[in-house]
Symmetry: C2
Subunit: 319 residues, 2 copies
Amino acid sequence: MNDVLPTIAEVMAAAQRIRPYAHRTPVLTCSGLDAMTGAVLFFKCENFQRVGAFKFRGAANAVFSLSDEEARRGVATHSSGNHAAALALAARLRGVSAHVVMPRTARTVKRAAVAGYGARIVLCEPTLAAREATLADVVADTGATVVHPYNDARVIAGQGTAALELVGEVPSLDVVLAPVGGGGLLSGTAIAVAGASPGTRVVGAEPAAADDAFRSLREGRIVPAVAPATIADGLLTSLGTLTFAVIRECVAEIVTVSEDAIVAAMRHTWERMKIVIEPSSAVPLGAMLEGKLPAAGRRIGVIVSGGNVDLADLPWSRG
Amino acid sequence: MNDVLPTIAEVMAAAQRIRPYAHRTPVLTCSGLDAMTGAVLFFKCENFQRVGAFKFRGAANAVFSLSDEEARRGVATHSSGNHAAALALAARLRGVSAHVVMPRTARTVKRAAVAGYGARIVLCEPTLAAREATLADVVADTGATVVHPYNDARVIAGQGTAALELVGEVPSLDVVLAPVGGGGLLSGTAIAVAGASPGTRVVGAEPAAADDAFRSLREGRIVPAVAPATIADGLLTSLGTLTFAVIRECVAEIVTVSEDAIVAAMRHTWERMKIVIEPSSAVPLGAMLEGKLPAAGRRIGVIVSGGNVDLADLPWSRG
């Protein structure tokens, strides 16, 4: 089932499944940002989600979808970011083991976060080949189920639950905007909105400096990201087969955003809304600031993907 | 009426009066900070209030308490901080003029904020004598009503509405903690809690480097702040006669907090809760981190006073 496109039914089932574990995050509004963009914005704040990012939704749906027998053998992934922390926490909540393959070069703070949630960290050389070989070894040893960060139907369905909550709480949205990296959030959002609020368009927002999803949609095939260089470091990955298939079918448009607009949007969000969001989460608002979408009076939902950021290295303080 | 101690009835009337204008701010919890302190913390987030601080509550209560005839002559204050912005916005909402006396040396960004809310700014030399003389001139010219930032019964009652909402939403708190500078927030909080949740203690938290309220309570007289030097720049002022009288009667204790604990608390709040708070707002959590209050399992409400901070000059990024 994990390589079949999920439907709205799976997103609704995911919402039920993760309800005891995930936060129902608030939807915030900000008259200052409305004035700045001309739109009426509704921010679904996944920066307040457990582990500080929407990733917990997909990981929790995957872990709690496992049969008892599968669960006993644990879960595994290779990731050094939010997905690893999310999978570690979800596994701990189910009382099973999580094995996380990380490059030796991963920052200490990231290792500590994952270890803090009780996962076993398996270090490897910092190449994709080494990561994949090490993950295969872990699976051979343990029988753990691999949970991919985005190209997995259970993960996509879980990510869609944020938008499901948003459209359930805020009726008559014209558009829902979500950032796109590997496409798990955007494809889950698209399935949820198509099913639960069919009059609402779903638009992806991507850094112009990492515009592989934009190109993929235009060319009708997965165009890999080549040397992406953006401050939005959660959006460096290329689409997967599943996420591309969903995006192609259900996403109206992908718009691209300059680095300057991403930084400006991040700063405006901190200053006006008083919330900490990571650069990747600022990409949708950046698109609005650059006029990439019609704004005047339109009701636009924005999925704020996360708030994990190095407070000692903020973009507006760099020399 | 403005120099008589307000009662719970005035706080309740203030809540009714400002309801159409002020935000009812959310109460947030954070398992990470609970684990760090051992307490069960409930954060009343006035950083999400209009103008980014609780100050809007008091200013709005003062402005909307005026008779029509008083209101027509406008309001005035000397302040360069959150109170000036709050008074300017409240006056604009009532459709009357606000005159704000500011020193010529006030930062451009502060002037712009106040001017942005439509107030008339009157510049003066940067001394207390010049401010007071200039304010007196403004009042002589216009007949405007002076609204003091804290030593005013209408302002104190307005500030108390944040705690009134908190204890109404979260029952059985053991303690409510609020920062103390001039004492408007702490005294309003004390009146609200004594009236609406009499089993709950109210404790003030003050920077050790600006501990004039702590000394005032100990000595039984207002001890002025002498050369206070704290990062919590909202807490530099000394108590007023009204706020001291209330604090003496209704506040159980004032605890003092080191600069290191204030910075650590601010950073933990940003990192764990993903909200932007100003240094003054971190003082209560700093007290918990330093073990200044019994914590184990106790339910503690924290008034988070505001979120106006210079993002380009954060304490953990200073050389």
